[in-house]
């Protein structure tokens, strides 16, 4: 190259200005975007983003309160099953269960995450983070495994799981979660 016309950057490979101008001229074609397409895309944005502002919040709260009730009910059920000792009549269990109440809170705390994890639908929005693929409220190598398994049925993988933002959901996203979880 006999001329250099990009002194503004610390870039080593340069091109003649005449070529740069010609390339720019070659690619200065402009596609006419019909206003109907603009409107369509913006209407879709309004449709999708509006619920986040106004409508989705109450329904999300309701949805989460519903989940909370369900989880609490499951935890109580698990707790009551753990109190049941084999070979004892049900009336005796009930009698024994009453004084055991102080321990029940701790057991409920332990039981709740297990129930939540088992019941969490695979496509449910991540409660903890977008990368929490398996819904266990932590981002770890298990999420990478979970995503790898879900990739066996790519049609059921949500678009939001394109963690590395390369336009496809593939092995690269699994590697991305693995990297992030190691860093965490």
């Amino acid at each position: 190259m006999n001329k250099s016309h990009r002194p503004d950057e610390d870039e080593t490979i340069e091109a003649p200005q005449e070529l740069i101008d010609a390339l720019a001229d070659l690619h200065n074609e402009r596609i006419f975007v019909p206003p109907s397409i603009d409107e369509e895309i913006m209407a879709e944005a309004r449709r999708r983003l509006k619920p986040v502002e106004a409508e989705a919040r109450p329904s999300n709260i309701l949805a989460w309160s519903g989940w909370g009730v369900a989880i609490a009910a499951c935890a109580v059920l698990v707790f009551s099953l753990t109190l049941r000792e084999p070979g004892r009549p049900e009336s005796a269990e009930m009698a024994d269960a009453t004084p055991a109440e102080p321990a029940s809170e701790a057991e409920m705390v332990d039981a709740a995450p297990a129930v939540a994890k088992a019941d969490a639908p695979a496509d449910a929005p991540a409660a903890f983070a977008r990368e929490d693929v398996n819904g266990d409220r932590s981002v770890d190598i298990l999420d990478a495994f979970a995503l790898a398994r879900r990739l066996e049925q790519p049609e059921s993988v949500p678009a939001a799981w394109d963690f590395n933002n390369d336009g496809t959901i593939d092995r690269g996203d699994v590697d991305w979660i693995a990297r992030v979880s190691v860093k965490l």
Partner: protein, 196 residues
Amino acid sequence: MVESLQTSGKVEHEPQSDSRGDRELIDAVNRGDSAAFDVLYLRHRDWVVNLAFRFTRDRDLALDVLQETFLYFLKKFPGFELTAKLTTFFYPAVRNLSLTALKKARRYQSDEEISEHVVAPPEAAPVESQREQLAAVMAELSEEHREVLLLRFVEGMKMGEIAQTMGIPTGTVKSRLHNALTVLRKDERTRKFFGK
């Protein structure tokens, strides 16, 4: 062949008056502000559709890719975090969607229709202008070399940005750029740009 092109359409609410940067707008969209999304759309629409056209060489496909790209972008909200320039985010999406659209379109085309889109070999095409000669040489470059050249000298990206955008090492960017320029320098149709 390719339809004649026109200047991009202007809609009533042009984003020029909005001084917020992409990052601020994305924060607003994450809070559910659809007007901020409109500004982002109008700001990047032409870049996206022209890039799509560069890949597809078909106006209708480019418009399809434009819509799909912004729907894909929209699905990232809430929770989207901008870690680089927004064009760096858009580029791989536009490229993949364009190539997919092209494959689908070709699946339904007859051989005759496809042949209309194939670039004629340089010796078959009557050479009319310097511009056409450059276009012919560019068409003969591999897609990887052509893209690096255009991202560097038409889009004005830095080496590191190109590397990030294309998902390749900076060394590979430099190597492709060097090779592409060597081809242009050696080809008799484009040698004149280098002063000889």
